[in-house]
């Protein structure tokens, strides 16, 4: 065994990557509010996303209270309930998870992990956050307008979304559409930055195939988002025009409230196609960054190189591409040509192949690894369990014939919460704990973190596993109450109540999580620069937390991939990406 030789002069020229001009703020506002530093912007994105996400969490509590004990909480009426359902879904999917993964983790990690000083367009990056912030404000404003926020369901299907009788069918839906349009404009600004930074500003030696899988996940997800969000944007504009100008893109001739509407000849199915052309890739916009991050977390905390790196990269790319040709599996019950349904069922099942490869590779990475059951690793393992569970029920729902009877039941709700809500949230939590020492320079409170993990893990299972059974029994989703029915046994109501109790407890654990994150940032123990002995560049910065410009005087030079863990013949069980190779003489001697 020997120490690795740092003989960079023998074989590799010193790094000399050209410098980019960095913005240097002169005022407090410029440094902390309108900052152009991607790390500050990342924290702003994360803070805003988590804040609005907490609103969505409270909305889910309200829904659950109503379902568990109908008519006990008099302030929850049917309209209120539908509004809570709608806003919870939209906030969680778009304003929390998308913004947190791409705006939060993307901003923080891309420049650091590819060895850049910052994003290539820092000013645009700053604007992108403030546009996102405006979108969140618009969305939040809809709670306070006359008629309240929209209650059309997060899918916003016309015609009911804009017909009288649906909560928020005037100002509520318009604010939602405006907010989505603004969000997409902001995201496009950010997305251009992420893609171009990854393609153009990687440091010397950081080839595409040496990028950590985190970056691959964020990169492909950003490309998906750039190509999928236009469909939502177009449909938002069209629906807004239907409301405002009386056009008939989606609105057919229809009787409403006893009279004929002004619309003629619109096609509601067109909206569904456009929405799901966005909606399905959206699942992977959330999932792919999670896939990437969890790959790195597992590798670092199992002290083992990721199994099948190239396969993992191509699986991400293939999943991304396939995600654009599966959208109509969300529309089996809308009525379609059987061959059409067959095509989409087939593509849906095909996408399971690269996804399963990834799952096998994660498990094989863990196999015989030196597994450290740190909090990030616990969350990573929990992710695997939730993802496998949610993925398996996806196979049921991908088949048109099985999907139809299960459509609009709690089985669907359980499936997508397992696969694209809880599973990615496990990764978010694991990732926040993993990078927390780098972001703040301090340790989180270990006890609170483990409490948070176990309550969230067990509690989430208690929420969503029984929901599958309720769905199979035929309990419909989005119903204000299911009392007075004969087809449901009393036990179904008891299960509903137990789910609610679990949901409240899980929600409480998230408050503990946030308390830990905030308080430990000031009072936590000081953390070293590379506490996990990780190989990627963000852990090799001169300062912790990294200063503006990320790296010291010179940008790092990359000589190897991000997964040199437990390399035979080396004392340390990791070799950072910026450590030069051993010179040949040393190798010969060895």
């Amino acid at each position: 065994m020997e120490h690795i030789a740092h003989d960079e002069t023998s074989f590799v020229r010193p790094a000399e990557v050209g410098e980019m001009e960095l913005y240097h703020p002169k005022t407090w506002l410029g440094k902390y509010v309108f900052s152009q530093d991607a790390k500050t912007i990342a924290i702003q994105y994360a803070g805003t996303a988590i804040a609005i996400g907490m609103v969505a969490l409270v909305l889910s509590w309200l829904m659950r209270l109503q379902l568990a004990w109908p008519n006990t909480f008099t302030f929850i009426d049917p309209a209120y309930y539908l509004q809570a359902v709608t806003m919870h879904g939209m906030i969680m999917v778009v304003y929390l998870l998308t913004a947190l993964f791409l705006g939060g983790f993307g901003n923080y990690l891309i420049p650091l992990m590819v060895g850049a000083r910052d994003m290539v367009f820092p000013w645009l990056n700053m604007i992108s956050f403030w546009v996102y912030f405006t979108a969140v404000l618009l969305l939040a404003a809809s709670f306070f307008v006359g008629g309240g926020s929209t209650g059309a369901g997060w899918t916003l299907y016309p015609p009911q979304a804009i017909l009288p009788g649906t909560p928020g069918s005037k100002a509520g839906i318009l604010l939602m559409l405006a907010s989505l349009a603004v969000f997409i404009i902001g995201f496009t600004m950010g997305g251009l930055n992420y893609v171009v930074t990854i393609l153009q500003a990687r440091t010397r030696g950081m080839t595409l195939m040496r990028m950590p899988l985190t970056i691959w996940g964020i990169f492909v997800a950003t490309v998906l988002a750039l190509f999928a969000f236009p469909a939502l944007f177009v449909s938002a504009i069209m629906m807004a025009l239907d409301v405002l100008l009386g056009t008939s893109f989606f609105m057919p001739a229809i009787m409403t409230m006893g009279s004929e509407s002004e619309h003629v000849g619109g096609n509601p199915l067109l909206f569904q196609h456009l929405f799901w052309f966005f909606g399905h890739p959206e699942v992977y916009i959330v999932a792919l960054p999670a896939f990437g991050i969890v790959s790195d977390l597992i590798s670092v905390h199992a002290r083992k190189n990721i199994f099948g790196y190239r396969m993992m990269v191509w699986a991400i790319v293939i999943i991304g591409a396939l995600s654009f040709v599966v959208w109509a599996h969300h529309m089996y019950v809308s009525g379609m040509n059987p061959y059409f349904g067959f095509f989409f069922a087939t593509t849906t099942l095909i996408i399971a192949v690269p996804t399963a490869l990834k799952v096998y590779n994660w498990v094989l990475t863990l196999w015989q690894g030196n597994i450290h059951l740190t909090v990030p690793m616990l969350f990573s393992i929990a992710f695997l369990l939730f993802f496998i569970n949610g993925g398996m029920t996806g196979l049921f729902l991908g088949n048109a014939s099985v999907s139809m009877p299960l459509s609009d039941t709690l089985f669907v709700v359980a499936h997508f919460h397992m696969v694209m809500a809880v599973a990615p949230v496990m990764v978010v939590c694991g990732a926040l704990y993993h990078w927390y020492p780098k972001i703040t320079g301090r340790w989180y409170h270990e006890g609170m973190a483990r409490f948070h993990f176990w309550v969230t893990f067990v509690g989430s299972y208690l929420v969503f596993l029984p929901m599958h059974y309720l769905g199979i029994m035929g309990v419909p989703r989005r119903y204000f109450e299911i009392t007075g029915t004969t087809f449901l046994p009393d036990s179904a109501h008891s299960v509903n109540a137990s789910i609610t109790i679990a949901a409240l407890v899980v929600g409480f654990a998230q408050l503990v999580f946030l308390y830990n994150l905030i308080v430990s940032a000031f009072n936590g123990k000081k953390a070293p620069g590379n506490p996990w002995n990780a190989t990627t560049l963000e852990w090799q910065t001169e300062h912790t937390p990294p200063e503006h410009g990320n790296f010291g005087k010179e940008l790092p030079c990359v000589y190897r991939w991000a997964y040199d863990y437990s390399v035979p013949g080396i004392d340390e069980d990791f070799i950072p990406q910026n450590v030069p190779p051993r010179n040949r003489q040393t190798e010969v001697v060895q």
Binding site: G18, T207, M209, V234, T247, L274, F277
Partner: protein, 216 residues
């Protein structure tokens, strides 16, 4: 150069690494790349609207938009503005600064005229349909031309900056990349307009295409 298909990332470097790009090169490449990515996004955007238009045409109650001849003149204006930018780019490469300025200004004026022409076309259509927007094809017309116009107006911001730079600097080489990016954007939006105009707003061309494809 590494190849993402053949590279074996688990093998560390054993020799010198290729030289890095300079900071200026990174910035220039980034702007060009960002523009290309943006144009890809814009392509999807218009493609979706065209597909939605075609999908709606398949229904039997489809009523096409009334013909507006002014659109032909507007197309000519956009074509000329694109040519002016191409000329400006050519002159920038030859170092003829005075001509570059003229080309840029002419392109800007022609684009403003194009946008004014589009507004006039809107006015004509509103008169033709007597303010009734319930015909989906009329809705599509306003939406597609409006979004195209907004993209042109957005491009005017970049063109305005290019003109300001051209008039405040004698250095042609510094402005070449900016003009090249403006030219690419204009050519691209001209292409989008030609597809949209030719396919959707000049008679029943799109219907013919749908028939050929067997959808009707």
């Amino acid at each position: 150069m590494s190849n993402i298909f053949t590279e074996q990332p688990w093998i560390a470097d054993t020799g010198p690494i290729a030289p890095a790009l300079s900071g200026t090169e990174i910035a220039l490449n980034s702007r060009r790349s960002a523009l290309k990515v943006l144009l890809s996004v814009v392509s999807i955007f218009f493609l979706l609207m065209i597909v939605a238009y075609g999908g709606r045409m398949l229904y039997q109650d489809w009523r096409p938009t009334p013909q507006i001849n002014l659109l032909w003149a507007n197309t000519g204006l956009l074509l000329l503005s694109s040519l002016c930018l191409q000329g400006a780019l050519m002159w920038a490469r030859e170092g003829r600064m005075q001509w570059v300025k003229s080309g840029l200004v002419a392109a800007a004026v022609l684009t403003v005229l194009f946008l004014a022409g589009q507004l006039a076309a809107w006015q004509q259509l509103i008169t033709m349909v007597l303010g009734d927007f319930s015909n989906p094809s009329v809705g599509f017309f306003f939406m597609i031309t409006g979004i195209h116009g907004l993209h042109m107006a957005g491009g005017m911001v970049a063109l305005g900056r290019a003109i300001r730079r051209a008039f405040s600097s004698l250095d042609v080489s510094g402005i070449e990349h900016t003009v090249a990016n403006c030219a690419l954007y204009w050519h691209y939006l001209l292409g989008v307009w030609l597809v949209v105009f030719g396919l959707l707003f000049t008679g029943n061309n799109f219907e013919i295409l749908l028939r050929i494809c067997g959808f009707i």
